[in-house]
C-alpha cells in the first residue's frame, strides 16, 4: 500500500540527507558524500570550474577536495530553510567551513549554499547545488570573512 508522505516528512528527510552529507564531508568519506547526489547532478561549486556535470565528474572533484583536506574539518550547516513539494524541493543555508591552518589554529569562512532536490524511487537526492561567497567588485576577490 502506498504511503502518502507529508511535506513535514519530506522536510525531515531532506534535513537528514544534508546532515548525513555534512557528516561525510567532515569525515572525508567520499562514498558518503556521493550518496547524496543524483546520477545527473549539476553542481556549481565554489572552486575550480564554473560547473560539474554528472556524478562521475563531481566525484573526481570531491576526490581532489578530500585529498587536500586532511585533518579535522569544520562543515556546519546554519540557518537551514527547506521548501518541499511533490517530488521537487529546495533548501538554502549558510555553511561554516574550514579547518586548522599551518599553525593549528582554526581558519573558517562562510559560504551561501542552495540545494535543489528531486525525489525518485522513494528517495530524495541532490539534483543541483550552488556554493558561493560574495565577491568584491573592485579587487575581484572572494569575501570569506563576512559574518552572517
Amino acid at each position: 500500500m502506498a504511503v502518502q508522505m507529508t511535506r513535514t516528512d519530506d522536510r525531515a528527510e531532506i534535513r537528514r540527507l544534508l546532515d548525513d552529507w555534512a557528516r561525510a564531508a567532515r569525515a572525508g568519506d567520499l562514498e558518503g558524500i556521493m550518496a547524496a547526489y543524483a546520477p545527473d547532478v549539476l553542481s556549481f561549486d565554489a572552486i575550480a570550474q564554473l560547473q560539474f556535470k554528472g556524478a562521475e565528474a563531481y566525484r573526481k572533484h570531491w576526490e581532489m577536495c578530500v585529498a587536500m583536506c586532511s585533518g579535522p574539518m569544520t562543515f556546519e550547516i546554519h540557518d537551514l530553510g527547506i521548501e518541499a513539494g511533490d517530488g521537487v524541493a529546495f533548501a538554502h543555508y549558510l555553511l561554516k567551513c574550514g579547518g586548522p591552518g599551518p599553525d593549528g589554529k582554526e581558519q573558517t569562512g562562510w559560504m551561501r549554499v542552495t540545494v535543489c532536490c528531486r525525489r525518485t524511487s522513494g528517495r530524495w537526492t541532490i539534483a543541483h547545488e550552488h556554493f558561493s561567497a560574495p565577491f568584491d567588485m573592485e579587487s575581484g576577490k572572494a569575501l570569506l570573512g563576512l559574518e552572517p
Partner: protein, 164 residues
C-alpha cells in the same frame, strides 16, 4: 506535473534577463515572495525581501553606462506542483560609469514556490524560447529563494580547503 510551473519559472527568468539588460527597477519587486532570500554576487551574505531586491537592482543599474549585454546559457528548469527550481549560466558585459569594462560569467540558481493554486496555461516550452520571447502565463509567480554567484578561480588550499 503541470506545464504552468515550467512557464511560470520561464517567465520569471525572462523577466530577470530583461531587467538586467534594461532595468525596470520599480517593476523588479513583483516576482519576489515577501520572504524571498537572495544570495547575490556582492556582499552581504544574504538579503531578504522584494525591497532588498529592488534596491540591489537600482544600485546595479546605476553603476553602468547604458544597456548591458546579457546572455543566458544552459537554462534548466525542474518543476513540481508547488515548487520549482532553475539554473543556468549568465554572461554579462557592460561598461561601468567610470569606464571599466565588465565581461563575466555568473552561475544562477533560482527557486520558486507557488503561492496560489492558479494553474498556468502557457504552451511555450522554455527550450524553444528565444531572447525576448515571452511565454503566456496565467497565475502569480514568485521567487522564494535565489542565488547568483560570480565564478572566481579559487584554488583549494592545502589542509584547510578554504578558498583564498
Amino acid at each position: 506535473m503541470r506545464a504552468g510551473n515550467r512557464n511560470t519559472a520561464a517567465e520569471a527568468e525572462i523577466r530577470a534577463l530583461k531587467a538586467i539588460r534594461a532595468p525596470d527597477v520599480d517593476g523588479s519587486r513583483s516576482g519576489y515572495a515577501s520572504d524571498a532570500l537572495l544570495f547575490d554576487v556582492v556582499n552581504p551574505l544574504g538579503r531578504t525581501g522584494p525591497e532588498a531586491a529592488r534596491k540591489r537592482l537600482a544600485e546595479w543599474s546605476s553603476s553602468f553606462q547604458g544597456p548591458n549585454g546579457y546572455d543566458l546559457r544552459d537554462l534548466s528548469i525542474t518543476r513540481g506542483d508547488h515548487v520549482a527550481f532553475a539554473h543556468g549560466l549568465k554572461r554579462v558585459s557592460a561598461t561601468s560609469t567610470d569606464g571599466r569594462k565588465l565581461d563575466m560569467w555568473w552561475r544562477a540558481t533560482i527557486c520558486y514556490r507557488r503561492i496560489d493554486g492558479t494553474d498556468g496555461h502557457a504552451r511555450a516550452c522554455v527550450g524553444a524560447l528565444r531572447r525576448g520571447e515571452r511565454p503566456r502565463v496565467a497565475g502569480p509567480r514568485t521567487l522564494a529563494g535565489g542565488q547568483r554567484c560570480v565564478q572566481t578561480a579559487w584554488p583549494c588550499l592545502g589542509p584547510t580547503c578554504v578558498p583564498s
